[in-house]
Symmetry: C2
Subunit: 147 residues, 2 copies
Amino acid sequence: MPKDIGDVDVATVEDVVALMRARGGRATSSRRILLEVLFEAGNHLDAEDIAEAVQLRSPDVHISTIYRNLEELQRLGVIVHSHLGHGPATYQLASLAHAHFICERCGLTIEAPDEIFKGLARTARTKLGFSIDPRHFAILGICAQCS
Amino acid sequence: MPKDIGDVDVATVEDVVALMRARGGRATSSRRILLEVLFEAGNHLDAEDIAEAVQLRSPDVHISTIYRNLEELQRLGVIVHSHLGHGPATYQLASLAHAHFICERCGLTIEAPDEIFKGLARTARTKLGFSIDPRHFAILGICAQCS
DNA sequence: GTGCTTGCAAACGTTTTGCAGACTC
DNA sequence: GAGTCTGCAAAACGTTTGCAAGCAC
């Protein structure tokens, strides 16, 4: 699966900080801590989860700062967000993004390997001229247990 | 593509009203008008669109009544809702539901034919035991014009 | 009359915004 | 010092809920 438009490969917190400074941004400690959390943590973190983790290291970082920095990091292509259901969006490093299957009955979340979309990607491109990126919204359905 | 769990085939407003009464519900005029709107209108109507259309015929119907009735109609399997982007959900008759491809750049919405998902559906079932219903969340990507 | 349904207002959860002060460069 | 970034409060957005009055049966 192709990366999202604008995805950037960055391996460390300092890489991203350098990128932000190169664009005229400042290297603030909220940003560094937010990035540390994103690099260390697992997937499927929503803004609230991230805020809690950041606040363990710096209690006064406000959730609006989290949102503003998440937005900026998306503009830079460092992270992406996805919608796994009706709740809050989840954020992850762009390089780790993947699609999800979610069971409508039990909520089970399966991280879908990219190969599974190869056929659909080819058909959508040849029949509709459309290049899919199946990672933004989850695909609902019924899991093995529930069916 | 299989229908959503609980989908019901109903051809007319009166069919649905009869169904609701059979379950102990009342045949109110807000409900009839809401159903008329759903049967007459095109796809991709959000709650606000529906409320406006209903209010042309009965100005005092409140949007909370619209939401309550939409929810009940979903419980009965008469309609489904889908998420085409970051805005409000859209509602349609379950029998007309279909998947969507949406361009991340220009917003173009393609109504995806069900056959296009056959391969993915088979792979997901055999590899993951998961039966997909690709109609709830749109699939993002880049359209022919934008790429 | 029973009890489902409605309108209204108020709350909800998530996200965005305006502003004045604080910080980075 | 210029301009970015922050915390806070408040608003925005789509949706849900509590309640008392209204309506279908």
